[in-house]
Symmetry: D2
């Protein structure tokens, strides 16, 4: 009753998700905290770095799948730590094998290990190879609108520009380029990287992003579970504000209570 | 279960409020829309301009109290449209009379009718008079931290600095001065004026504000009821993010998935 | 020849100044560095704190007037360190006495010794007293446009809003309120406090300020004399950009070289 | 005497330039205004779009070389209007032919004709081809630090990231990525595109850029010749401020005139 417009679900590569908040699994104290934070976030999609996560290969170590059940969550293996198209492609194939043919992946090919800024040339190459090999590719990229459109043309099912550097918490440093990406995209656009706090997530959604992916903002808050809950609400608030269409900005003031017909005076 | 820290209620002049979102009644199409938006906002405190609102004096016109029940909401009469301390004091007294001794008011004394920027000298004078006359005074003011502290010293029960001009929707233009006010305040601080969209409200709360008051951001959205709902979540998200204590900002990147102990490679 | 519009001099209280950069004398290593930096700045007006500067009262200490000749520079005694109207008025009278009737002063009445934010109520009171006593009062104030206009009404000959806190180097934190002051002022408006680097000074001038006053930005740079020279050019650049009237901003791009009539292609 | 540090000239591909402001020739009313503005800018390097400029091929039309003498200015032919590496390479070869073997060019390969955002993949390809063919390539690019470094690796003699879209006048929208480029570059970095007014140019130089290129900011100001003069000073001011090393920013205030040893009290 409180929503006069009914929102559509987020659809990525034919999969429908109720939540527009996607979360990572890294940087938590242990899998218990990971599980609690992800539950509080109400996320449907959970991403993890294939190259550092135990999915059962190491029987003596904790297994992520015991904490994050694949029957409840959509797993999104990612290629964090890959610096070439070749490595990223190999990592996606490994994930597909470990997960019995699961073909949804988050591609990231990084430029260096200091900034973790994407290498867009390698990313474009890897995206093409993976799409041709039958993967559904959600792709981490810079805020370059030409590259974003080209990734879409090569068949990526979602484009995921950075707000700022991975793990920096600096929010959306260049809303203008993000707006250009949104203006021209025909696949979902999700901000991936840079979210630091609730207002950053709300802002991304208000601009019209289809979703937000984050990890450090939750895991590195002092109270991760509470922050996960805050982020859930922030993403919902931003989405609803987008659908509700905000008031226009004004240079001068506008009285809340005009006095033309005032009754006392 | 999802909240590891229990939040305290907002307490203003001994009154306890579950919601930290306060809303206005102006600028809606009709009282029906006003009522629907306020319900969606889940606000406990509802403000209205004494000088233009019919509380029953004009029996032939719609009565605000029929739409906003005083048994359900805490009414917060305000002095919008007053440009002198004298006018504001008289307006508060009129409100107290119309509302059977209700002594909680929002004081605003404006500097001019173009900017609606507060006149802090007149505001200080009115605040002192009203406090001495037994009012509980929540006070709209500029972002001047010295004036804010002085209003507190004169007995105001809440200080309400602007984020930007009333009705402008420009958000928090000077977070640095707001931070100074928050650092030194011993009464609740609520941002009043300037909120334009959900992320603005979340940001105010993340900074540590005790609440947010808004009117135009809801009433002038294309879909006010949905925006009211968005704002409810935004204020909650910002509050929870404040309590959860955000991650530190970093100049350089930080990998979500460190590779020191990676299992494949 | 390079200037198609001839600029007018800055006129304050009937005094004409070629330079729109005003500088302070504090925080330098010694009077020699002070003199070199001020020379490099090409400033005409030099301000100093009456309460801490030796103008000859202490014959055994260095005398500012030996470094900064009153025959070359217009001295602008200021009331730094005063927290009440009474103290500020007394300090101005002392300055007038020490300087043989010199009646141009910079009034500042501060709110506390942590923020050095102005106390606008005390400032208004002091301004009125000083104007009535025959002083030409340039007044440091907040960015409150109502207070700025009221200071003008009480006879101040220049209004000097802060860009950010004294000595913070944070630049112009709220250009919107500065724009409101500029829109309504009929006396010169000079940004005083907060300038950190050359672009801050240029920005203030581009917005239409009549001048800029600074001290820390020069004195606390690693190379004060070179920074003084930079600031001179920055103020001139900003002034000329204001007079030249900048290009309009565009959301989309505009080719530098339109191709409608291109000759190759 | 006013400069305590002697600045080095800008050196690009072995050529030495006294001025760090580079200017374009487009968008002026006529070649007379072009010449006057460029003279006022004191620029040494002047860029023009090969595909639309008459260098004598059309004997009946005005010839740029009559207005901008190659004996006085270093001409910088650019590939504005090219959307593929192939077109850009062909355009550079045409320029070299028209200019008797002149091999310094500004490469730009654009992504689309609405945003004029660079196509970095085509830019990288064109850069490699041109360098191998003996050109000295100054290259317009996005603010992507990985692409910027790769352009340098491929032999470009200067990297020229955008501040914001060409012709938009929106200034430096993402100083953080520009800082990353500056941190890692071993060739000159010049901001190209987006400068709108003097403070934008000063800011770019203060950050450590080696130069700034602009066209619209001068040509589309109401008074281009005066704006050219302003920009000259702004670039110098920003450069000097960079060399002088600005004061540190402070969260709290710092008195210009400490009162520990004050002489009056």
């Amino acid at each position: 009753m409180t929503q006069s417009i009914q929102d559509a679900p987020l659809i990525v590569a034919g999969r429908r998700f109720a939540s527009r908040l996607l979360v990572g699994t890294g940087k938590y104290r242990d899998f218990e905290e990971t599980a609690a934070a992800i539950e509080a976030s109400a996320a449907d999609v959970v991403t993890f770095a294939v190259r550092r996560t135990n999915l059962g290969q190491n029987p003596d170590e904790p297994n992520l799948l015991d904490a994050i059940s694949p029957s409840r969550y959509t797993l999104l293996p990612n290629t964090a730590g890959c610096y070439t198209a070749k490595d990223a492609v190999r990592t996606c194939k490994l994930a597909r094998e470990l997960l019995d043919g699961h073909n949804l992946v988050k591609l990231e090919v990084l430029g260096d290990d200091k900034t973790l800024y994407p290498n867009v040339v390698e990313t474009l190459a890897a995206a093409e190879t993976l799409v041709n090999d039958g993967f559904d590719v959600m792709v981490y990229t810079s805020d370059d609108p030409i590259v974003a459109k080209e990734l879409e043309r090569r068949g990526c099912c979602a484009v995921m520009p950075l707000g700022s550097l991975i793990g920096s918490g600096n929010g959306l440093l260049n809303p203008a380029t993000l707006a250009l990406i949104l203006e021209h995209a025909e696949v979902p656009v999700l901000v991936d990287a840079g979210i630091g706090t609730a207002s950053d997530a709300a802002l991304a959604m208000e601009m019209g992003c289809d979703g937000v992916l984050m990890n450090s903002a939750i895991a590195h808050a002092r109270h991760p579970v509470m922050m996960a809950h805050a982020m859930r609400k922030a993403v919902e608030a931003g989405r609803e504000a987008f659908l509700a269409e905000r008031m226009p900005r004004r240079q001068s003031a506008s009285p809340s209570s005009p006095f033309a017909g005032r009754i006392n005076g």
